[in-house]
Amino acid sequence: MRRLFLFALLVGLALGLVACGGGEATQAPAAEEARPFRIAVVMPSAINDMAFSQSMYDALVKLQQDMGGPAKLEFVYSENMYVVDDAAAAIRDYASQGYDLVIAHGSQYGSSLQEIAPDFPETSFAWGTTVDTFKEMGIDNVFAYEARSEQGGYVNGVMAALLSQSGVIGVVGPIETGDAKLYIDGFKAGVLATNPDAQVNVNYIGSFSDTALAAEAAKTHIQAGADVMTGTAQMVVGAISVAKDHGVLWFGTQADQSSLAPEIVVANQVYDWTVALKPMVENIQKGVRGGEAYSLTLANGGLTIQYNPAFNLPAEVKDAAQKTIQGIIDGSIQIPVGGE
């Protein structure tokens, strides 16, 4: 009996702590005013991962400011939902609590959403990163969003090729799929378009969270002669740390990673999901609950290249980057990877 009690106590304590780490309301709803728009988001890693989840959190904070504060937009989130079953339960909970928009921020949540969305026809859902809104399956309350991350990848690649002295460039990726693959393919294309003789070594470490392996992959690249590196997903902070130790240049993506290593981060492709979120909110307020897919691109401002002000980037490299951005926007540069 005592054992059972203790077990229950422990599990309860543990779950309580896990829950504390997660969902957190930003502000209690104001009582008298008109009801604010309510968004809930479920994301696979932490809101300060300097990558995928942080980009969504930052966008929601910005959207809240743009819309006029917590009185107009209220949002809650569950982070670290790397277990898809837990994420599915959270999505269902939020939907049944009557949120206007429930965002499943992770391609792995797709099949869960496909099951949940039809049960809540009055609620809007959004799923990213993907272009699939499940419209063909007769589901009409799901929006889709994606980042054309190959575009910023290409721009980063152009700069990387110009900055590399050794002609060897290392890439640390998580799993060869989705957003990571797009970015890396674009990066590679950008390097090779600028310097066809350059060698781009790509390493997929098979994990989104194994920082130690990401660090060791970066060391491997350096040993293979790389003097410029990039990488994507939240475990790359391990690789950035190694790059910093060895004075190897780094290009970031998904969020601004300059603060972690101001001396070696050259530039970051930064996602601004408000470009996708704003039209969703407008649509929902008009009564359209789904069926649209949105893309972040350099042209619509959803993707931007942010240069690290602390890094002394040669003017001709920056010019080349700006020209490349222009080229991608006006269509004169076509990136030889598909937008899926």
Binding site: R3, A46, N80, E176
Partner: protein, 306 residues
């Protein structure tokens, strides 16, 4: 293109580094399992150790104080595990999972409240031995690692010595094999198990610190990413013997380092297969080479005097 010699050197040096956190955690786990307690909370203890070391090193600028903090946190986590599994006779597997979730959640919560964003520290420095570190091949292989790496390898003979050459080792093994007989001879099973489980907590926490302020110099939520569970598996792989555990950790880490190179060299092997290699090979070796060792007879069995 790199010469093959350099590549082999790179693989070996990477493997030696990658094995470090496993060794700390697995040596602690070896001690506690030999005394009859399965501690599945290793991962949680590592995360708490990693955070405590990072936070203190970050605030004070002293890696030494960071290590001390990891020891302190590991001690508390280990004591708590011992209290639950030894004193209260709780089911070990379940309470271990409870401690894992506890460590995962608490380290995450503290990280968000106290730090808020990923940042870096100076951490434990790399070793530099006069002459030795500058040797061409051997220098890179053995004499330029982070100090935490040497600590991990020093633990192996130490744990072997304690288990096989000291009366304390005898008591540990007796507690794990036949606690009733040992008890009738006046060995306090509770004391022995309290000591091993607590020490296990300390070593796991140091394993976490070897990541956060040793090898990586950053902290991120869930940064151990299943490493603690692999450490527990390595104890089984090594048949509860320190040297066997060392060989398992090195094998796993070397193949992991090898697969990184396979991808960097652009060999025509899909990345997914390369990533699988360490796991597949470890299982193959386990089946083909490692003898079917018998676990400590009293492993996972709470001791209740009859």
């Amino acid at each position: 293109m790199e010469s093959w010699g350099n590549i082999l050197l790179g693989i070996a040096a990477s493997g030696i580094r990658l094995a470090t956190p496993y060794l700390y955690a697995a040596m602690g786990e070896t001690l506690s399992q030999r005394s009859g307690v399965l501690n599945l909370g290793v991962e949680g203890q590592m995360l708490m150790g990693a955070f405590a070391a990072f936070y203190v090193a970050y605030r004070t600028g002293s890696a030494g104080l960071g290590l001390l903090a990891a020891v302190g946190v590991g001690l508390l986590m280990g004591l708590a595990m011992a209290f639950v599994s030894v004193h209260l006779h709780a089911e070990q597997g379940i309470s271990g999972i409870g401690f894992y979730l506890f460590g995962l959640g608490l380290s995450d919560l503290l990280f968000q409240k106290l730090l808020g964003t990923v940042d870096s520290v100076q951490g434990v420095p790399d070793a530099h031995f006069p002459l030795l570190s500058d040797l061409p091949v051997l220098g890179e292989l053995f004499f330029r690692h982070n100090w935490m790496v040497y600590g991990a390898y020093a633990l192996v003979p130490l744990v072997w010595f304690v288990l096989n050459k000291t009366p304390w080792g005898l008591m540990i093994k007796a507690a794990g094999e036949n606690p009733h007989a040992a008890d009738s001879l006046g060995v306090s099973i509770a004391k022995v198990r309290y000591a091993t489980v607590t020490l296990g907590g300390v070593l796991s926490a140091l394993g976490g610190a070897s990541l956060s302020i040793g090898l990586l110099k950053i902290f991120q939520q869930n940064m151990t990413s299943g490493l603690g569970f692999i450490a527990v598996a390595l104890v089984y792989f090594g048949s509860w013997r320190p040297v066997g555990v060392l060989l398992g950790a090195l094998l796993f880490s070397l193949v992991n380092a090898l697969q990184l190179w396979v991808q960097v060299l652009g060999l025509p092997i899909p990345a997914d297969f390369a990533v699988m290699a360490p796991y597949v090979l470890t299982i193959v070796v386990l089946v083909l080479v490692v003898q079917r060792a018998r676990p400590p007879a009293a492993l996972t069995k709470p001791f209740v005097r009859e």
